[in-house]
C-alpha cells in the first residue's frame, strides 16, 4: 500500500490509484482485510473534508458553534473563530487539491494545537460549560493525534514518490555532456577498476567475476565501507545498471546511460543512484549536514570523469592537494 505514493505522480498508474480511492467509504476501506489498516491518503482525504466542514461552520455560524462546544461570551470572540474557520478551509482545500498534501496536513496539526490552546483558555472563562468543553477538547486531542499520524505518513510517502524504492533511501541523478564518443566512455566505465581514478571516495575496485566486483571506499568520519556489486543490465555503448549484493555496508542501485548529444555534440552521460544508508533517511539527513551530499558527490565525480576522458587527467590545483593555494 505504501507504494501508492510512488504511483500517484505517474500517469496511468496514478489514474488507477485515484479511482481506487474514490469507491467506497474510507472508514470501511481502512479495515479491509488483507490491506494495511491505515491508509494515510484516504484518511487524509477524509480529514480534508472534515476541515472544509468545520471551517464553513466556524466561518458562517461561529456563535452557535461556540455554544455547542461549551463556550459562551467573548472568549474566544466570533472573529477569532471566523479566522480559525478561514485557516481550516485553507487546510481542507489544500489537502484535497494539492498533489503533495503532506504540508497541508501538517498545517492541520498546527491548527489543532492552536485550537487546543483556545480551548484551554476557554476553561478559564467564567461562563464556560466545562462538561461540553471537556468533550470538545477530548475530540480535538483525538483529531490532533490522527492528523499528526496522517501527516507523518504522508511525509514519508512524499519521500517515496520522489523516486526511491523505499522511504529510507536517497536518490541522486546528474547529467554531464562530454565531447567523446559513447563507445569510448562505455568501455572506460565498464572497466570498474577505472573508477578510483575519478570517484573521489572509491579507493579500490576488484573485478571478481564477469558481472561482479568488490568495492572499497572511504565512508563518513574516517570509516571504510566495502560492498560487492553486480551488473544487472548492460547494453554496449548505451547502458550499465548495477546493484549491491546482500551484506553491503551502503546498499545502492545505480545506472549510467550514454546517449548522443543533439547535433553530434558529444555524449550525454546520465547517472542515477539510489542509496539506502544504514539508519535510513535520518542517517542520510545527518550525512548531508556533515557535507556528504550524494548529489554533490556524484556531480563532482562526473566532472572528474569528464576531465579524465576529455583531457586525459584529473585537473588539480595546489589548493586542492595542499589545502592552501601555495
Amino acid at each position: 500500500m505504501a507504494m501508492q505514493g510512488t504511483q500517484r505522480s505517474a500517469g496511468v498508474v496514478s489514474l488507477a490509484g485515484r479511482r481506487d480511492r474514490r469507491d467506497g467509504g474510507w472508514l470501511a476501506r481502512m479495515s479491509r482485510p488483507g490491506e494495511e489498516r491505515f491508509d494515510p491518503q484516504r484518511v487524509g482525504t477524509a480529514l480534508g473534508w472534515f476541515s472544509v466542514g468545520l471551517g464553513l461552520a466556524e466561518l458562517l455560524a461561529p456563535v452557535p458553534l461556540l455554544r455547542a462546544i461549551g463556550l459562551k461570551g467573548r472568549s474566544p470572540s466570533p472573529l477569532v473563530t471566523r479566522m480559525a474557520g478561514v485557516r481550516e478551509l485553507g487546510a481542507g482545500v489544500g489537502i484535497l487539491t494539492e498533489p503533495r498534501p503532506a504540508r497541508w496536513m501538517w498545517s492541520r496539526v498546527f491548527g489543532d494545537v492552536m485550537d487546543l490552546a483556545l480551548l484551554g483558555a476557554g476553561f478559564a472563562a467564567r461562563r464556560a460549560n466545562r462538561k461540553r468543553l471537556a468533550v470538545a477538547t477530548a475530540a480535538v486531542v483525538g483529531v490532533t493525534a490522527l492528523d499528526a499520524l496522517c501527516a507523518q505518513r504522508l511525509t514519508a510517502m512524499t519521500r517515496v514518490s520522489a523516486g526511491s524504492p523505499d522511504a529510507r533511501s536517497v536518490r541522486a541523478r546528474k547529467r554531464i555532456t562530454l565531447d567523446r564518443p559513447a563507445d569510448a566512455l562505455y568501455r572506460f566505465w565498464r572497466d570498474f577498476t577505472n573508477h578510483p581514478k575519478f570517484m573521489e571516495r572509491v579507493e579500490t575496485v576488484q573485478v571478481t567475476g564477469e558481472r561482479r566486483s568488490h568495492w572499497r571506499a572511504r565512508g563518513p568520519a574516517g570509516t571504510t565501507v566495502e560492498w560487492d556489486s553486480e551488473v544487472t543490465e548492460e547494453r554496449p555503448n548505451e547502458l550499465i545498471a548495477w546493484r549491491t549484493l546482500p551484506g553491503a555496508s551502503i546498499e545502492h542501485t545505480g545506472s549510467v546511460r550514454f546517449e548522443p548529444a543533439p547535433g553530434g555534440r558529444g555524449t550525454v552521460v546520465t547517472v542515477e543512484m539510489q542509496y539506502s544508508p544504514p539508519g535510513g533517511a535520518i542517517t542520510a539527513a545527518a550525512a548531508k549536514m556533515l557535507g556528504y551530499a550524494p548529489e554533490q558527490q556524484l556531480q563532482e565525480d562526473l566532472r572528474r570523469f569528464k576531465q579524465l576522458m576529455e583531457t586525459g587527467e584529473v585537473v588539480v590545483s595546489e589548493a586542492g592537494t595542499q589545502g592552501g593555494a601555495r
Binding site: 556531480q299 585537473v315 595546489e318 592537494t321 601555495r326
Partner: protein
C-alpha cells in the same frame, strides 16, 4: 621561492613559499622572468572578490623560461621562452573547441563554487581566488602551468619580455573588447577607462579600422597618455557630462560601440557614487556599474556595448530598458587569450604595436607591495607596474 601573497584586504606581502611541482602529465614549471600587476588584481587587493584565502599567491600576467615539463607536454622543452595566458584551458572540451577558452569546462577544480554565483563555472585562472580554481599565481619566481601544451606561447628571441608579456592578458583583453565591437568603416568607438586595458582597446579599435576613438577617464595623466601615444580624443568625466559630450561629439547620435574597460569599482562624481558605495559596503550590490550604465545610455541605437571590465556578482539599476528599446547588443567575456595570442604576436612582430608603451614602473618582485599601493592610488602617474623576480 619568493612569491607575492594576498594576506588580507589591503595586505599583500612577498613571502618565502614552497616551489611548485609537476602534478599532472600536461603540466610545466616556468621560471618567471617578467610579471605584472593587473588592474583586476586591485579588485582582489580591495577585497571585492570572494573566496580568497590568506597566503594565496597572486598574479596572472607572467612569462618566463620552461624549467620542466610533464610527460604529456610535447611541444615545449626546457629553456623555451613562453608567455602564459591567464585563463587555464584544456583545449579539448566543447568550449575550448569553440575558441571560448576562458569558459573551459574542465579547468576549475572548484567549479561548484563558481556555479553557486554564476550558474555555470568558467575556466580556472592563475592567482584569482579559490572560486576560480585556487591556482597559485605568477607574481613569483616559479609557477606550475597546467595544460602547458595548450596555453603557453613560445616567443621568438627577437621579441623582448616587455613587448611580449602583455600577450598574457591585457593586450588580448583590450583587443577582444574592440573585436566584439564589430567595427565598420567610419565607426566611432568610446572607451570607458584609460588604464592599460582601456588603452589597448583604443589602440586595437584603431587597428581594426575605427574612424574615431574617444577615451573617458578622470585622471588627466591617463587621458594625456592616451591622447599622446594613441592619438585618441579624450573626455574627463570630472569635468564634463559624458552623455552630453558624447552626444555632441557624435552629431547627436551616440558612439557606434561603447567599451567598458572599468569594471566593478568604477567611480562617478556626485551623490550617485555614495549611493552605490553604501550599497556595496552593506552587501546589497556587489559591483558598482556607473561606467556600464553610462556606456549603455550613450551608445547609438542598434550599437554594441562591449564589456571587458571585470564584474563579479550583481549590479543595481541596470538600464535594461535602453538595451531592449534601442536594439543594443551587450557582449562580454573574460578574454579567450589562447585564441588571440598568435595573431597578436604577429602584429607585434610586424611592428604594428609595441605593447610595452603602457609600462610606467619597473620594480623588483620584493617591492610588489609598493607596486600595489602605487597602482591603487595612481601615485607618480602609475599606469602599469612590471615586476622582475
Amino acid at each position: 621561492m619568493k612569491a607575492t601573497c594576498w594576506m588580507d584586504k589591503g595586505d599583500v606581502r612577498v613571502q618565502d613559499v614552497p616551489e611548485p611541482k609537476i602534478l599532472n602529465d600536461r603540466d610545466a614549471i616556468v621560471k618567471i622572468t617578467t610579471t605584472a600587476i593587473c588592474g583586476s588584481d586591485l579588485h582582489l587587493y580591495n577585497g571585492f572578490v570572494p573566496t580568497m584565502k590568506s597566503g594565496d599567491i597572486l598574479g596572472h600576467e607572467f612569462m618566463g623560461e620552461v624549467m620542466e615539463t610533464g610527460r604529456g607536454v610535447k611541444n615545449l622543452k626546457t629553456g623555451d621562452r613562453v608567455v602564459v595566458p591567464f585563463p587555464i584551458a584544456c583545449g579539448a572540451c566543447a568550449q575550448c573547441r569553440r575558441g571560448l577558452h576562458s569558459t573551459c569546462e574542465n579547468t576549475n577544480p572548484n567549479a561548484w563554487m563558481a556555479e553557486k554565483l554564476w550558474g555555470y563555472s568558467p575556466a580556472g585562472i592563475f592567482g584569482y581566488s579559490h572560486m576560480l580554481g585556487g591556482y597559485p599565481g605568477g607574481q613569483a619566481e616559479y609557477a606550475r602551468v597546467p595544460f602547458a601544451d595548450v596555453g603557453p606561447l613560445k616567443i621568438p628571441a627577437g621579441i623582448s619580455d616587455e613587448k611580449a608579456l602583455f600577450l598574457s592578458d591585457i593586450y588580448p583583453t583590450g583587443y577582444m573588447g574592440a573585436d566584439m565591437c564589430n567595427i565598420q568603416r567610419g565607426d566611432t568607438i568610446a572607451v570607458w577607462g584609460a588604464g592599460p586595458v582601456g588603452q589597448f582597446a583604443m589602440k586595437s579599435a584603431q587597428l581594426l579600422g575605427a574612424e574615431r576613438v574617444i577615451a573617458i577617464d578622470r585622471f588627466p595623466y591617463r587621458l594625456r597618455m592616451a591622447h599622446e601615444r594613441i592619438g585618441v580624443e579624450t573626455l574627463n568625466y570630472d569635468e564634463v557630462d559624458i552623455y552630453d559630450a558624447l552626444r555632441d561629439l557624435t552629431g547627436g547620435r551616440g558612439p557606434d560601440a561603447c567599451i567598458d574597460a572599468v569594471g566593478l569599482e568604477s567611480h562617478v562624481s556626485g551623490p550617485l557614487f555614495a549611493y552605490d558605495r553604501v550599497k556595496q559596503a552593506i552587501g546589497l550590490e556587489s559591483d558598482r556599474p556607473y561606467a556600464l550604465r553610462q556606456a549603455i545610455m550613450a551608445c547609438r541605437s542598434g550599437g554594441i556595448v562591449s564589456v571587458i571590465g571585470v564584474y563579479g556578482g550583481f549590479v543595481d539599476k541596470f538600464p535594461m530598458g535602453a538595451i531592449v528599446n534601442r536594439s543594443l547588443t551587450l557582449k562580454s567575456g573574460q578574454c579567450h587569450v589562447q585564441r588571440y595570442m598568435k595573431p597578436l604576436l604577429e602584429r607585434i612582430e610586424k611592428g604594428e604595436i609595441d605593447p610595452s608603451f603602457v609600462i610606467s614602473h619597473r620594480l623588483p618582485l620584493d617591492e610588489a607591495p609598493r607596486g600595489y599601493e602605487m597602482f591603487l592610488n595612481k601615485e607618480d602617474d602609475c599606469l602599469k607596474v612590471v615586476l622582475k623576480p
